[in-house]
Amino acid sequence: MPLPGSEKVSARPLHFIWIVDVSGSMSVDGKIQSLNQAIKDASPAMRDVAENNPFAEVFVRAVRFSSGAQWHVATPTPVQDFQWKDLSAEGVTDMGAALGMVADSLSVEQMGERGYPPVLVLVSDGQPTDDYKSGIAKVMATNWGRKAVRLAIAIGADADHGSLAAFVGDVERPVLKADNAESLTQYIKWVSTIVVQSVSSPPSKTNPVTEPGPNKNYVDTEIWDPIPPAPAPVDSSQIW
């Protein structure tokens, strides 16, 4: 006989959020087209990863930012149903506004308490034109923002690595530098698959230990497999 509530048992959610720069400079040299294609190409592999993990339910959302920020996919969408709609580029680079919107979505009321750490992927090719630091501060003011696996992809030579690195906030997770379409495709696939797989895997025997920090006298009981290193950039004759 099933226990009370057994029909309510479900896998834990993993929220994945794309935070995408669609400023005017992204329209140069086909960057936005490459990004659209890379996310579309990576989606089937992301679905495969989710389907092979019975302990995670992966939900995907997306925020775009240029002159201001808007949700591109506002509803946490099961990865099996996720369809990427192409973005176009114009305007400036209001990264802080986008991060503020993401922060608002990370509340416990909206995310619940039982999920895996969310994965936040920031993709940008330029210099922030608003107060990105306050956006980062808003993210870090939320419980899930602090717990999130924050990753950043810098597109082209003009990307501001400082703001991206500040968002990541972890020297062991360097900003991924995509100087060409092939590298961008590779990184998008890596965050969509390897990172999702790693974050949604319950702890294994070989996991490393996270030591308590100076202001943290409590322990992380579940330490995930270390995210495998990102692939090396791909050489290409076309450089952004």
């Binding site: 009370p4 509530g5 057994s6 999920g115 294994s204 322990v219 009981t221």
Partner: protein, 382 residues
């Protein structure tokens, strides 16, 4: 207030998580329920940390359950704990229990490592801050390393006729349901228990992190206490938990409901692990089975409840068999980790005085003296 007749039941079980089985790791949860002491029932569960440096957490979890059971039974047997009309005295004494539990756990951990020293493989995990020579003095840092090796959460509830007493450190769920009301979390939320982080008995300030609550059995008091580790709790959406708790209450109320749940608990927990979290899963219950007109069953004894009604107490123990020993919890001070043979780590505050002793039945009892400094009041009663 109406008299209630009936029997408290205590059941519980831990199952290994499917990912623990997959990876060849032990079950790091532990569960103990005690119902063999007339008038006092205890359910205690613990979830040893999965960290590499908590490589003996399955032992730490067992020790935590044993210590909590002993201390709570000792409290129930103490003069204050057994009194029907001394809520204030009982509350004052209960406020010292977090320190007693934390200190006793540390002492037992020290005793365990003395009997079963770290292996060479384990020493590679604790690093060079832990002294290898047996007569070497334990530094505070070494104590922290030692405790972390056994790190665990703990949730425990004692029920007697006149009151219930709940304790918790770390994550996991401790929920209750009254006979006619809704379900509620027994203790206030600790914001440090979030996501994958938890407070721990291995924390230096565990006595301050241990939350507790004394619940008088008056009015529509809980007839069900549900304790579970996060391996079961997180198989549910947070919003569903109160409803599930009420489903359990109603299932327990069915004829032989507790027996049906007991028989299906292990398989149900395994399913929750397989379809939910992958983690070790533990659930324990204390349930008041009301007696509608019939006399208490064989082997039961009757006590007076706070509401004046007789409460039949089931006398047969189900599981859990806490070891007996004697401790002086007030002997050590914050920075004095002593050399062997008392190689114990007990850098707890030396204020107050709750002395544990062992009675002839091997149950730890507590004796209170005036505090000398700050008393433990965190997470206290409401």
């Amino acid at each position: 207030m109406s008299a209630r007749r009936g029997t408290w039941r205590a059941i519980g079980e831990s199952v290994i998580g499917v990912t623990h089985e997959r990876d060849g790791r032990p079950c790091q949860d532990y569960c103990g329920v005690h119902s063999s002491t007339p008038g006092a029932f205890v359910a205690a569960i613990a979830d040893g940390h999965g960290q590499a440096k908590s490589f003996r957490s399955q032992v730490g979890a067992r020790i935590a359950v044993e210590v909590a059971t002993e201390v709570l039974l000792g409290f129930a047997r103490s003069e204050a704990g057994a009194s029907d009309d001394a809520f204030r005295v009982r509350k004052d004494l209960a406020g010292h229990l977090p320190r007693v539990v934390a200190q006793t756990w540390r002492e037992r951990v020290s005793e365990h490592v003395e009997r079963d020293p770290f292996t060479l493989d384990e020493l590679t995990l604790v690093g060079d801050r832990y002294p290898i020579a047996p007569d070497q003095r334990m530094s505070p840092e070494a104590c922290r390393v030692l405790w972390r090796a056994y790190g665990t959460t703990l949730l425990a509830v004692l029920v007697t006729g006149p009151y219930a007493l709940a304790l918790q450190i770390g994550d996991g769920l401790l929920m209750a349901a009254a006979a006619s009301g809704g379900a509620f979390e027994v203790l206030d939320t600790d914001s440090l228990n979030f996501g994958t982080s938890t407070t721990s008995l291995s924390d230096e300030d565990a006595e301050l992190r241990l939350r507790w609550r004394l619940i008088p059995h008056e009015g529509d008091y809980p007839i069900l206490y549900w304790l579970c580790t996060d391996g079961y709790e997180k198989a549910f959406r947070s919003a569903d938990l109160p409803g599930v708790c009420l489903e359990y209450r109603d299932a327990f109320r069915e004829r032989d409901g507790w027996r049906v749940i007991q028989e299906n608990l292990g398989e149900g927990l395994r399913q929750a692990s397989a379809r939910g979290t992958g983690d070790d899963a533990t659930a324990a219950f204390l349930f008041f089975e009301e007696d509608h007109g019939s006399t208490p069953g064989d082997g039961a004894s009757a006590v007076e409840g706070a509401d004046g009604g007789p409460i039949a107490i089931e006398s047969a123990g189900l599981t859990g068999s806490p070891a007996s020993s004697s401790h002086d919890a007030d002997r050590t001070t914050k920075e004095s980790c002593t050399a062997p043979p008392a190689r114990a780590c007990s850098p707890a505050s030396g204020d107050g005085g709750v002395t544990l002793g062992t009675d002839r039945d091997g149950v730890v009892s507590s004796e209170i003296s005036e505090p000398r400094g700050d008393s433990v009041s965190e997470g206290g009663d409401q």
